[in-house]
Amino acid sequence: MFFQFVLLATIILLPLFGAGLVYWVSSKSAMLRNYLAASLTIVTLILTSILYCFSKGEAIVVGYPFLSFAEIRFSINPMSALLAFLTAFIWTAATLYSFTYLKSSSNQGRFYAFLLLAFSANLGVFLAGNFLTLFIFFEILGISAYPLIVHNEDKKAFKAGAKYLVMVFLGDIALLMGILLYCKVTGNIDFATGIKGTSEYIKFIIFALMGIGFGVKAGVIPFHIWLPDAHPVAPTPASALLSGVMIKVGVYGIIRSLFSIFGPEQSSIVVGSIVIWVGIITMLVAVFMALLQENAKKMLAYHSISQMGYIVLGVGCAAYLGVEGALALGGSMYHIVNHALFKSCLFLTVGAVYYRTGELNMYKLGGLVKKMPIVAFCTLVASLGISGVPLFNGYASKTLIHQALAHLGHGGWVGLVNVLFIVTCGGTIASFIKLFTLVFLGRAPKKYEKVKDASSSMLVGIMALAIMVFALGIFPGRFWTFFILPLLKHLGYTGTALSSIRTVNILTLHDIQSLVISLAVGIFIFTVGTRYGLFHLRFPRWFGVNYWFEQFALGVYFLLHEESHLIEMHTSRATREIKEMIAKKGRSTEALIEGESYVLRSLIFISKRHVKKIYLRVETYIVARANYIIKSLWSGFLAKTYRSLSASETKKEFNLYIEDLNFSIFLILFLLVLCFVSIKLIG
């Protein structure tokens, strides 16, 4: 027991203290810092693999007393050990990769320090033994990712970082609320296999709160809005980790909370179908958005959302099916591992291209297969992985989830889900055909004549991941028996449920059939898309969730901020856009693409220019009206109260000071009266 405790403590504390050490060292010598960071991650990787040896049987629980009713508790079980090992592996690859990638960047010490801190927190989440510990490390992880996102310190990065943090904080609040309710209902905060003795209603509320909290991190629609902004602006190794590992924390949390609240036995059809629909919408919308992107990293970010949708779909199936859902959950877990591998690999390869060419727009690249053969090969492997082609890892997990869908039944909405699933697969395939052909095939622009292949330290990271993608694709059965089955057992599935899925055939006729269909759909989408320029479509701003979040935030800001220059800003922006719109008759250009908020513009543009014009006019008018009302309200009553309450800087005159003084005495009097009234009200 003691040995395990020491081992766990080392795994979590080594990167934690290493972070401080690295920060300190970085001011002395860059070389030493790199070696230190590399050795720390590698040592942790070795330790996590040792940890895996202990995780076979019962979960081992260690901890130390923290609060009066709960402890900081870690547990070593098949699930956490697998995910911890995966984390350490990808982290090592990304860290090795980043030495070259960040060579000329500033603030490297901070980057590595927070990379290690996030590493520690990520391991902490996966190894957590109760919800409190999970929450603590989850929040530390959320915060330590912020410096990684804003690493470039430009305006875009700050905007993305702020959005990320606000979303994560809101999610944390929901999560904390859920955990506290869980604590109230069960009396402790340990993981369980289903709460007993409470109404479904409360259980559902708890799960919804926790699901929102974790869903924000996982990028589930409609809480995904931070993700497409944050992942592309981060430096590539960081975005590989964000997409590859850190968002898995969210899915892990969803699985944990689902199984702790409902457990395999008390599964609920309602919850299951909600989760399934959330998953399917997530995967479909995100893949659709991904197809429309020009920026390669942004496209990959949307694909991360889409792949999260697959996983959530699998989890939903598991919840829906209850005891029978072991297969679906196994598929989800498998997909978590797979996605971590191929998505990190893809980010790293795209980053390598960016490092050599300085370009992320796919349409401006091309013909790099001769210049960067190894990178191109690895991209191909990972693309095949994500597209779900046999012999590569994605196939196995996607097939498992698809098979689980078949267990739901036939016809009705299940059929629709099935169709959507295949369409999504096709979209994914199309999107990666697009990526590969645009970047690596075709003719290379002249300025990329002297492009070389990536440097060795970058290639080590990329190739390690690519090899794993391939390896898992060749031996899916081994992986299933050795890693996934003990995990399912740990989550509470009992003998009969497990024995039926001891061996799963993933090459049935049905599977091949659906594979072929989705391949066909993918190729169809790709050809039609490129032929008719559908990939350049943009939707109106209000179409996206992001717009509403932004409007809401702006509204709150208006309400609170006295000098709202924003009104002018907003109106002038709208008029400027109309002018631009009239000036440019052709296709939309980069100037108009700022995330999904300026969406569908061109579609309307092609069809009816007037609609667009009127729409913008109306919008401008309404916004200006609303702002006028808010402003007049504000500058009248609210501003006065606010100013007198907050002792603002504007009051310079002595008379005003006296007025304030009188006001404060008046407040005392007022409060006194209120208190007297309240005390006499009942008692």
Partner: protein, 492 residues
């Protein structure tokens, strides 16, 4: 171990005596003030440690000053919670005095320096006296010393803003102390005594509670003014923002916390169980509004110290709301929040002071990228911010966790919302500061270096304590858990 019994009262007497001694010695030697005050605070720290050992092993005790028993003489009442407060006072006091040396030399005229130390010692002595007092009139006297020294410490720099802030604080403070006196009169008239335990006993025999409720109400309103709870926080932002940094640390970290402790004394020790439900609900609502509004004020403030002061309003609201939950978790959260606020907010003010000392910058706009120039100072500052923003592994998280749990357990959804929203807004303003300090590109070409070691060390200790109690909150539980259970017993 019998000398330990005398330590609480010596913790009052020694700082006051040393302060007086400084004034007498002033004619012979000018520089002695700092050394003497540090020695005094070390004495206070050591004696509070002794007291801690004493109450942990033997439980709470009473001490009759002048050996006269309660209804006639003055009783000093030392339980675990007051020892806990004493420890906080000793630590924060020692740290801010050590920090003061360089800062004060730069900020104040050299003639004022010894008086500054004297006033700080008076402040410390009177806070101790207030915390351990078991008699309302005695509490009033020490409250007066406490307030007088705080007013003058706020106004000590003598510039116009400071004087205005000081005068406003003074007017409100005097009204609050008069409320205490009036409330004490009401309570005395029906119970015939001013001793806590005796009042609590007599109140149970009373049939009509009107007079007692009026007295309790006046006392609570007085402490609301002192603790700067909405809407009577109006004096706080300027007073804490314009005072010298170590003073702001003391005032924000301790004095307003003492206001909350005074409230605990009224609600649990003196007059437990005389409050109608409507009153309690009203108070919870008031404090909830304060939590949110304070954070919003902080969100739009530009002057760093005033921002921190605004956030104190919100943070002290957290401590106060726990008092009115009347439950174990609520009080635990309240006490932990007092600890968090004492350490973290002091660290923040000291950090802001270090920036002012080095650069003279007060506004957040000017401080862009200063974290890159003075990473260690601002690193400690960031730890303080993390605790205010209740990020896990700092004590701020533990306290807010308990508060939220208490509110949820009682089903008070409004309070839950206020706590969570307040936490969220605190996160936002902390994020604003952090992104400004650490991530923006520095504007000015002025070479800024790390703060001197004498300022860095106190900051480091506070940051360490913040983290320590976040990772091992059990260390604080030794005192507060039995203490909280004890005072909850008074309610029955």
């Amino acid at each position: 171990m019998s000398f330990v019994l005398h330590l609480p009262v010596l913790m009052v007497a020694v700082p006051i005596a040393v302060a007086v001694l400084i004034s007498v010695l002033l004619t012979f030697k000018r520089n002695i003030a700092f050394v003497l005050s540090v020695l005094t605070m070390i004495f206070c720290l050591i004696s509070s440690l002794f007291l801690m050992v004493k109450v942990i092993t033997e439980g709470s005790f009473v001490y009759y000053v002048s050996d006269w028993p309660p209804p006639w003489g003055i009783e000093i009442f030392i339980d675990r919670l007051s020892v806990y407060m004493l420890l906080l006072i000793a630590i924060v006091g020692l740290i801010s005095i050590i920090y003061s040396e360089l800062y004060i030399k730069k900020v104040l005229d050299h003639q004022k320096i010894p008086f500054y130390y004297m006033l700080v010692l008076f402040l410390i002595g009177s806070i101790v006296g207030f915390v351990i007092s078991g008699d309302i009139f005695n509490m009033f006297i020490f409250f007066e010393i406490l307030s007088l020294s705080s007013y003058s410490l706020v106004a000590i720099s003598g510039d116009r803003e400071a004087l205005r802030a000081g005068f406003r604080y003074l007017v409100m403070g005097i009204v609050s102390s008069l409320f205490i006196l009036l409330g004490l009169g009401f309570i005395y008239s029906v119970t015939g005594t001013l001793n806590f335990t005796q009042i609590a006993l007599r109140v149970k025999e009373l049939s009509d509670l009107t007079v007692i409720q009026t007295g309790a109400l006046l006392l609570i309103v007085a402490f609301i003014i002192e603790a700067a709870i909405f809407p009577l926080h109006v004096w706080l932002p300027k007073a804490h923002g314009k005072a010298p940094a170590p003073v702001s640390a003391l005032l924000s970290g301790l004095v307003i916390g003492i206001g909350v402790f005074g409230m605990i004394k009224v609600v649990y020790y003196i007059l437990p169980g005389v409050y109608p439900v409507s009153f309690v609900v009203f108070f919870r609502g008031l404090i909830s509004v304060g939590i949110i509004l304070g954070a919003i004020f902080a969100l739009f403030e530009n002057d760093l110290k005033i921002l921190l002061a605004q956030s104190s309003i919100s943070q002290i609201g957290f401590a106060a709301i726990g008092v009115f939950f009347f439950s174990y978790s609520g009080l635990m959260g309240s006490m932990l929040q007092l600890l968090n606020h004492a350490f973290a907010k002091s660290a923040l003010f000291l950090g802001a002071g270090a920036v002012i000392y080095k650069t003279g910058f007060r506004n957040l706009d000017e401080m862009k990228g200063i974290g890159k120039r003075m990473p260690i100072t601002m690193g400690f500052f960031a730890i303080g911010l993390a605790s205010i923003a209740s990020i896990p592994m700092t004590c701020g998280f533990v306290s807010k966790y308990y508060l939220c749990l208490a509110a949820i357990k009682q089903g008070l959804w409004g309070s839950v919302g206020a706590i969570l929203l307040g936490g969220f807004l605190s996160l936002l303003y902390c994020l604003r500061i952090i992104s400004c300090i650490f991530f923006e590109k520095p504007d000015s070409k002025v070479e800024v270096k790390e703060a001197p070691l004498k300022m860095l060390l106190p900051l480091g200790v506070l940051a360490f304590l913040t983290i320590f109690f976040g990772v091992f909150p059990r260390a604080a539980f030794v005192l507060i858990e039995p203490g909280v259970k004890e005072i909850l017993g008074f309610l029955r």
